[in-house]
């Protein structure tokens, strides 16, 4: 198989960045197309950010608006932090994909449509009266390129003798070839992918290659395109990079934490969107000593995790909001037992089953308070796909240093998104030392609830002869851990568990700020909204506004300088994909008024909407400055 990409003879225009969205039916292979375009762009040295958006149903009714699956990717020659607001190009495989996505295409943007997917039957399924491609407004607003992808693909793969059904499945590779031509992408990574994925079915592999090349050739020969676009490599920090998805980075962070702490890992979980990919990733790495347990339910998953922690293993469980709700009682036991473990919540739209495949930040108060009694847990929130790696390692560091279950709060946007990730040197990774007492030191009996300077108790594990003890969910007597109903002791133990979590503020970095540490407006955000908030604040700053940005990764306890920071600005603005949960915490804790920018639509923030909302609070300043 030759792996060379042909060179174009047409004009090439250099652009700083491109945002493209690929949309089709759930079965059209759009996620595959998007992933390939992302990897190829990353390998070309671009900065990339992605946003897959797909229905919760595996095969939603074909041709309907509900069944549209999309993948958006921005690739650029400069640092980017979001998958982009408006689209430079939109690829649609059918009318439903077109009508549900056309609103995001910028005026003058390129609309590539699979003409063969537009017919009476499809109009009916998409609930449109006539061919939407033929609306005057479409022609006037966009560069419309109609391509008979199905027919052209069939012709391209004809020699491989596949059934029409199988041949038609190759059309996403045709679309890919065309997109690759348009944006000057190399075919090589995808050719390698086809070889690895379909190598065992040579006819299918050859047909996909033929479709890919035919799509590229179509771009080169059609008169519809007089030029293609090129995006130069971005200036990233020197190093070795790879593309990484959030859930994958989270899994790798856990594996790294296990390795550097010299502990094998137990991962107890129950399948749930969007957390299941962590299980799929971890279970590949049994040679790292990873034991994955797919439990009978969410409660069994965390129960087994706590059991493994009691035995001295690195123990992790993960779910999404509905599953975290079921784990509430067991998390409380984890708090009471004071054993190290990680509980991961990859948030999705709620309440109840909600929007399983859409993103939201509405579980913050759930993970803070969703347990009976006074049961504080540290909460960490990664800010991007790559950051999931670092925060997973941090979660285990804090869990073991402080003997406490740690909540790692991700979301569907980060989990399924991807970005270039600089591979860390092994010596850059933090050290995590776990130890277990081996014998009773000092006089008297062993005290399983004696405490060190972190207020952490000893992690004494079964098998140690002198340290036999019993733990349980009934209130513990300080020191001995025996059951105690003493009122003063209960107060003391509740205070101590809270103080232990609060003290973690001493062991985490101070909050960093993008911009000045005082001024007009401070934007405070957390979790997956980082990219949009960062970009929006930079735009406001470029426009001359006094706006700074603090993005919180340590949500509980908050960094020790947050209070001072909040009080150093005239206005504090808190954008969140919920109705104001961090805002409630900040107001309660620091008595500082905060203004929310809130959205609960299952979609991430667009940069433009944040710029607009933030600017409302800076207008006076900029006017006076301009004047």
């Amino acid at each position: 198989m030759t792996t060379s990409t042909p060179t174009t003879n047409k004009k090439i225009e250099s652009v700083p960045g491109i945002t493209v969205r690929l949309c089709g039916d759930s079965g059209d292979g759009m996620q595959l197309l998007g992933t390939q375009l992302t990897n190829t762009s990353a390998l070309a040295g671009n900065d990339v950010a992605t946003f897959p958006d797909f229905p919760a149903e595996i095969r939603a009714p074909r041709g309907t608006r509900a069944g549209v699956s999309g993948f958006q990717v921005q690739f650029a020659s400069e640092a980017i932090f979001t998958p982009g607001d408006t689209l430079d190009a939109l690829v649609v495989m059918n009318p439903a994909a077109m009508v549900t996505n056309i609103g995001d295409l910028r005026k003058g943007g390129i609309l590539i449509a699979n003409e063969d997917g537009f017919n009476e039957k499809e109009y009916k399924l998409a609930k449109v009266e006539s061919n939407p491609l033929e609306a005057d407004v479409i022609d006037q607003s966009y560069r419309v390129v109609k391509v008979a992808m199905t027919k052209l693909t069939r012709a391209a793969v004809a020699e491989h003798g596949l059934s029409t059904k199988i041949a038609d499945r190759c059309k996403n590779f045709f679309a890919m070839g065309l997109v690759y031509w348009l944006f000057g992408r190399s075919l090589d990574p995808t050719l390698r992918f086809i070889e690895a994925k379909f190598g065992k079915k040579p006819d299918v592999a050859a047909a996909n290659v033929a479709a890919l090349r035919a799509g590229w050739a179509y771009g080169e020969t059609t008169e519809e395109f007089s030029e293609s676009y090129q995006v130069e490599a971005a200036e990233l920090e020197p190093g070795t990079y790879r593309n990484i998805m959030g859930n994958q980075a989270l899994a790798w962070g856990l594996i790294a934490a296990s390795k550097i702490s010299n502990k094998e890992m137990f991962y107890g979980t129950y399948p749930i969107t969007p957390a299941s990919d962590i299980l799929h990733e971890l279970t590949k790495f049994k040679n790292f000593g990873v034991r994955t347990f797919q439990a009978e339910d969410e409660i069994a998953a965390i129960g087994a995790t706590i059991g493994a922690a009691f035995g001295g293993t690195m123990a992790v469980t993960a779910s999404s909001g509905p599953g975290i709700a079921l784990k509430g009682e067991a998390m409380g036991l984890g708090v009471m037992l004071e054993l190290p473990m990680i509980v991961i919540n990859v948030q999705r739209g709620g309440p109840s089953t909600g929007l399983p495949t859409k993103t939201e930040q509405s579980d913050l108060l759930q993970v803070m308070f969703g347990r009976n009694g006074e049961a504080p847990m540290p909460v960490l929130a990664p800010r991007s796909p790559g950051d999931c790696f670092a925060m997973a390692v941090e979660a285990w560091r804090i869990a073991t240093e402080c003997m406490v279950p740690v909540m790692l709060l991700s979301d569907g946007y980060i989990a399924n998104g991807s970005e270039p990730w600089k591979i860390p040197d092994m010596d850059e990774l933090p050290t995590i030392s776990c130890s277990h007492p081996e014998e009773q030191t000092g006089d008297g009996p062993f005290l399983p609830y004696a405490r060190n300077e972190n207020l952490a108790r000893p992690w004494a594990i079964p098998g140690t002869p002198e340290l036999m003890h019993r733990v349980g969910g009934l209130e513990k007597e300080d020191g001995t851990g025996n059951v105690s109903y003493d009122p003063a002791n209960h107060q003391h133990m509740c205070d101590t568990r809270a103080a232990k979590v609060a003290k973690i503020a001493e062991r985490i970095p101070e909050q960093d700020v993008n911009g000045e540490t005082s001024g007009d407006v401070l934007v405070v955000s957390w979790g997956g909204t980082y990219g949009a908030c960062h970009t929006a604040v930079n735009r406001c700053r470029q426009a001359g506004h006094s706006v700074s940005h603090a993005h919180i990764r340590y949500v509980n306890p908050l960094p020790r300088n947050i209070g001072t920071l909040l009080k150093s600005f005239k206005t504090v603005v808190v954008p969140e994909l919920n109705s104001g949960q961090l805002r409630m915490l900040l107001r309660a804790e620091y008595l500082v008024d905060c203004i929310g920018i809130n959205k609960i639509q299952g979609k991430p923030f667009a940069v433009s909407e944040l710029v607009e909302a933030i600017s409302k609070h800076t207008s006076t300043h900029s006017q006076s400055k301009a004047g």
Binding site: K286, N287, F293, M426, V471
Partner: protein
């Protein structure tokens, strides 16, 4: 190596036992302490995990490692512990409400996975710790605090559930029948795979005498049949009654009326649980209730062995995991200054 010889008293913790005076739990605790020294497992390698309920206070009274967990979930904690620490001997202590109501799901899945732990289910047919509501093993019509007009639920038999889950060791004993109880607990401990021992346990406060037909020595001989592998099913104070298989059901016969080889010979080792299920379904007063080992099937892989075996195999096939190689797997690119 000289191992210290332990006695029952060595397994007692320093905590005061707080069950009601006269509770059947005391007998189970005593028998447990008595058999543990014979098993040769050091105390520090022994862990008792329990859920919630009267029985679940058990771990606090044992001088071993222990965990008093949450209601119904003890098998889950045991699963994580035994999967990662197969060197430990793990006991799950539970009750009829804990194992069969709130924890029914975990009970079934622990058994079908054949995790190598021993489950002791204290069945008193009542909720004791919450003061007297009916349980999933309460009899139909039973009047309790929550069923003043009588329970309308059909009771669940833990033995039937366990057999349906294809458990590899299923047994029953009685708190007051101390020798039989000790012997049965020991057999459970020696079995590799999940062992279930249902123990008829008297709650003398909320359900006193509910199982007197099996507990009282005078009544027991006629109402209970002691199963022994390879032996014919004979019972009665005079040992004059037996069980025979007729078609697809069991019936009680007078041994004098039938040839000796007509009696059913108990086969605890039969992998097919059909006849064992018929035995489990024998109910007082129509039939004698079986005690002893209904089923004990060896050679079935355990969950803990297999989860660890896969790790060993993966390490042998692919070598010990290397982070640096993992990070660089697949496509990477260099950015130079």
């Amino acid at each position: 190596m000289n191992l210290p010889v332990l006695k029952a008293a060595d397994f007692a913790s320093d905590q005061d036992v707080r069950w009601c005076p006269g509770c059947g739990d005391y007998s189970i605790l005593a028998q447990m302490k008595k058999i543990l020294p014979d098993l040769g497992v050091p105390r520090e390698k022994t862990v008792f995990v329990s859920g919630i309920g009267c029985s679940s206070r058990f771990p606090y009274y044992m001088n071993t490692y222990g965990m008093h967990s949450i209601h119904g979930r003890a098998p889950t904690f045991a699963t994580g512990l035994k999967s990662t620490r197969p060197d430990l001997m793990v006991w799950v202590i539970t009750g009829d409400g804990d194992a069969l109501s709130i924890g029914g799901n975990h009970f079934i899945h622990c058994l079908r996975r054949n995790l190598d732990v021993n489950i002791v289910l204290f069945n008193n047919r009542i909720y004791g710790l919450t003061k007297g509501q009916y349980s999933p093993t309460s009899t139909e019509g039973q009047v309790t605090k929550s069923t003043p007009m009588g329970a309308i639920d059909h009771p669940l038999s833990p033995l039937s559930v366990a057999l349906a889950a294809e458990a590899t060791f299923v047994a029953r004993s009685i708190d007051a029948h101390v020798q039989h109880l000790g012997k049965t607990l020991k057999a459970a401990a020696e079995h590799k795979g999940t062992s279930l021992v249902e123990v008829y346990q008297n709650c003398n406060v909320f359900n006193d005498g509910a199982m007197a037909y099996a507990q009282e020595r005078k009544q027991r001989a006629d109402n209970v049949i002691e199963l022994e592998h390879g032996k014919p099913l004979i019972f009665g104070a005079e040992r004059d009654k037996g069980i025979r298989l007729v078609g697809s059901h069991l019936e009680v016969v007078n041994t004098a009326d039938v040839p000796a080889d007509d009696l059913l010979i108990h086969d605890a080792h039969d992998p097919n649980p059909s006849i064992q299920m018929m035995l489990a379904r024998m109910r007082y007063p129509d039939m004698p209730e079986p005690i002893g080992v209904l089923r004990s099937v060896a050679g079935v892989a355990t969950y803990n062995d297999q989860i660890n075996e896969q790790v060993t195999q993966a390490k042998a096939a692919r070598g010990e995991g290397d982070l640096s190689k993992l990070f660089r797997s697949g496509d990477t690119w260099e950015v130079t200054a």
